[in-house]
């Protein structure tokens, strides 16, 4: 794995333009059989990332977090998101960035992160693998303070209809259908919910911005960002989640805006919460999630193990009761990663390649 230090978090607008161009090139290359079939062995890193107080307050207000001086885990995702996009926009990335859908998201937060802490954020791609309807990949983002990884996120994306040459088609998983519990709450999401999250997160994917742009990408109406619904569910769980936790989300059906969403936030045996958001009339789930205490066994300390080798599996200790598999047939996006915008900024990136520094933390089993 080659670690590339970028001087700053790249702008999403330029990345989307680059990703769109890559997507086109990839489509052509696939016809000639010259498309890349492996993930780039490159990790991007930006050191010294900090959230501003205004950004923190706007994010907390939007998703309903208490106005504490610590970073909600969803905001750390927002801070690292452009690095993951930068990887997907590379010409040697094997999947087309345009039209990728966010299937699942897993965050391990080791401790509370103060807004004034300086984060070194690293992104890599991992586990390229078949899905029943295409190919999926994990984008792994780590945030470290003084070489201690305090936050680690794994975002699973699906490229629908893209099958890599060596693929065997994944088979259907057996899974229990979602049966809505009695709700514990509801959200009234206004038509501008996507625009408001876009303003705070920077993720201005057109499917979230207006009915017209959403229709252009095959959605009947504007859809809410998956990470917005995920963050609201986590906020509804409240402070009882503690400072260290594993937060796991599966995105099942997109929320079409405006919307009334039924929610359930319930204690789970062994600690933490089961979280669900669903359509109150049809009972179809939008997002199924859990937040749980970290596994009881402390993470192994393996100084020889590079961070990209972290486990990407959901926490096995207490699997969510309501969890659906990420490979649900017909899964649709919580978020995707398209938007051609202004000029690229990634060319400013420095090119010196250095080996990743050994990390003390390794993945949970």
């Amino acid at each position: 794995m080659t670690l590339v230090d970028l001087p700053a978090v790249p702008g999403l607008g330029g990345l989307y333009a680059r990703g769109a161009a890559s997507t086109g090139r990839l489509a052509l290359a696939r016809r000639t059989g010259s498309a890349p079939v492996e993930l780039p062995a490159t990790a991007y890193r930006v050191r010294g990332v900090r959230a501003s107080l205004d950004h923190l307050a706007a994010y907390q207000r939007l998703v309903g977090e208490e106005a504490s001086d610590t970073l909600p885990p969803g905001l750390v995702h927002v801070l690292g998101f452009p690095l993951a996009i930068a990887l997907m926009a590379r010409t040697d990335f094997p999947l087309p960035m345009l039209g990728m859908v966010h299937l699942a998201n897993l965050v391990e937060q080791r401790r509370a992160i103060g807004y004034d802490e300086t984060l070194d954020v690293t992104a890599s791609a991992d586990r390229l693998r078949p899905h029943r309807t295409g190919t999926q990949v994990d984008l792994v983002v780590e945030a470290a303070v003084d070489d201690e990884v305090v936050w680690r996120g794994v975002s699973t994306y699906l490229a629908k209809g893209v099958h890599l040459p060596s693929d065997e088609r994944a088979s259907d998983d057996e899974r229990a259908p979602f049966e809505p519990p009695l709700p514990t709450g509801q959200w009234q999401l206004a038509a501008d919910t996507g625009r408001r999250y876009a303003a705070v997160s920077g993720d201005r994917n057109p499917i979230h911005l207006s009915p017209l742009t959403a229709k252009a990408f095959g959605f009947p109406r504007t859809i809410a960002h998956g990470m917005y619904t995920a963050a609201r569910l986590l906020a509804d769980a409240g402070r009882g989640r503690g400072d260290a936790f594993v937060w796991s989300v599966d995105f099942v059906k997109p929320v079409l805006l405006p919307a009334t969403v039924a929610t359930s936030v319930r204690h789970r045996p062994g600690g933490g919460f089961d979280l669900a958001a669903w359509h109150p009339r049809s009972g179809k789930p939008h997002a199924l999630a859990s937040v749980a205490p970290p596994p009881l066994t402390p993470p192994n300390r393996r100084p020889d193990r590079p961070s990209a080798a972290w486990s990407t599996a959901p926490p096995p200790a207490t699997p969510p009761l309501l969890r659906l598999s990420a490979t649900r047939p017909g899964a649709t996006p919580g978020s995707s990663t398209i938007q051609p915008r202004s000029r690229s900024t990634i060319r400013r990136a420095g090119r010196p390649t250095i080996q990743p520094r050994p990390r003390r933390c390794s993945g949970y089993p």
């Binding site: 519990p181 009695l182 709700p183 514990t184 709450g185 509801q186 959200w187 009234q188 206004a190 501008d192 509804d236 769980a237 409240g238 009882g240 039924a262 929610t263 359930s264 936030v265 319930r266 204690h267 919460f273 109150p280 009339r281």
Partner: protein, 441 residues
């Protein structure tokens, strides 16, 4: 939880309910459509002053509150005192504990009397849904405040530029829970489904409430408890002509999106109401000096709360937990109570409360008892009707119930002797509940 049967807390002296006065409760948009909280509280307070000859009197302290309160009413109670004919040196303070506000003023003032800090006090509460404080949206408010702080033209433009047309719409207060965004009715619909409370049982309870309140009005029971105001002479929500057939014909308004049948209607849910109530409290010595007849003593009180946010219990179920603790502390059981007043936020709130207390499993697993907590004799429940018939101006309900049941306790003691007791139980937003025991004085 384990319940300890500890001794009744020793009180140095008794805090006595000496009387009460309220204005008739009116339906939202009715007779009090243009009366403010301060107007109605002052009217109820002035009625109490007139009834008990307190003109020019310096009362120890007056506490009252409103749930829907404009920020300009930061000293609502003090302003009502200044607008009354009480001595202007009468201190006052505001209390706010959602629908438990009125009862909490009574509990706090009673404790001050018991401690010897006060000789006399007036507890009260008021609410107007007709004259509710309308505010601007949070986004407009923040933009306007930033605008007022802006120094440069650029900052001012930036603040103004954040304002969107939809931010300009006025915002009326709602009964929605801030954390769950479900209205109180939708929350109660969940509890109704959870406990399987039937439509028929709810309609029967609603009918009994109207019949009993009508009977009390007809018997002149409220003649010395209510002062007409703005042309309203009886409780505006009271429907003398209602029947099970009429109630059964109403369409469900809450829980229509649940799998369980929707059973909650406008008939078995309390309507939005305007009104105010007051209760006169005092020590034995003060009552004797004034020549006032004590009606009841405030024995003890217990607050409770439930975790409705995470679906552990229904929003309005806190009294289910508070009452067993309260009775155990006083060495009492439900059978020791001649009267049980359970605020009828919804008919199903009362019925779910009774069902929880009658459940063997709930008693064992949630209340830490050997079995079911007990059964409430329906003949002792809300004997003169309650909020379904009278209406429910949030903070005014505590004073209505306490004054009504204190008078009833006094009459009962005069008639039958002994020391009859009453339980008062009020559920409130935020998963709160406040309960108290009164006994005839």
């Amino acid at each position: 939880m384990a319940l300890k049967n500890t001794a009744t807390p020793s009180a140095p002296r008794r805090a006595l309910v000496l009387g009460g006065n309220r204005i008739p409760f009116a339906r939202s948009g009715g007779a009090y459509a243009h009366a403010s909280n301060q107007d109605m509280l002052t009217a109820a307070l002035e009625g109490l002053v007139a009834r008990y000859g307190l003109q020019g009197e310096r009362i120890g302290e007056v506490a009252a509150g409103a749930v829907l309160k404009h920020s300009r009413d930061f000293n609502l109670t003090r302003e009502a005192v200044l607008g009354s004919s009480l001595d202007a040196t009468t201190p006052a303070y505001d209390v706010q504990q959602a629908c438990a506000t009125g009862l909490e003023t009574l509990v706090g003032l009673s404790n001050k009397i018991r401690l010897g800090q006060l000789e006399s006090a007036i507890a009260g509460g008021v609410d107007s849904t007709s004259d509710a404080p309308i505010v601007v949206t949070d986004r407009l408010r923040r933009a306007l405040l930033d605008l007022s702080r802006a120094r440069t033209a650029g900052q001012k433009l930036a603040a103004l530029g954040r304002i969107r047309p939809k931010d300009l719409a006025p915002v009326a207060p709602s009964t929605g829970e801030p954390r769950t965004h479900l209205s109180m009715g939708e929350h109660q619909a969940l509890t109704t489904a959870q406990w399987g409370i039937t439509r028929e049982a709810q309609d029967e309870l609603a009918l009994a409430s109207h019949q009993r309140l009508a009977a009390a009005w007809d018997a002149g029971f409220f003649d010395d408890l209510v002062t007409p105001y703005r042309g309203q002479t009886v409780d505006g929500n009271l429907r003398r002509d209602t029947s099970l057939e009429k109630l059964a014909g109403l369409k469900p308004t809450f829980g229509t999106r649940l799998d369980a049948p929707a059973t909650m209607t406008a008939g078995n849910s309390t309507p939005l109401t305007d009104g105010a109530s007051t209760v006169l409290l005092g020590s034995e010595e003060w009552a004797a000096t004034r020549g006032l007849t004590p009606l009841a003593a405030v024995v003890d009180a217990e607050a409770g709360a439930v975790d409705f946010v995470h679906g552990e219990d229904g929003l309005l179920m806190a009294p289910v937990f508070a009452v067993p603790r309260l009775l155990a502390r006083n060495g009492l059981t439900l059978a020791d109570l001649e009267y049980v007043e359970i605020h009828e936020a919804f008919a199903s709130t009362v019925l779910a409360t009774l069902a929880a207390w009658e459940s063997d499993e709930f008693g064992r697993t949630r209340l830490g008892l050997d079995g079911a907590f007990g059964t409430v004799d329906r003949a002792r429940l809300n004997v003169h009707g309650s909020s379904l018939a009278a209406g429910h101006p949030f903070a005014a309900t505590g004073g209505r119930i306490v004054a009504t049941i204190a008078k009833e306790l006094h009459l009962r003691k005069q008639r039958d002797g002994g020391t009859p007791r009453a339980l008062v139980s009020i559920c409130a937003a935020g998963g709160l509940g406040l309960t108290a025991i009164l006994e005839a004085a």
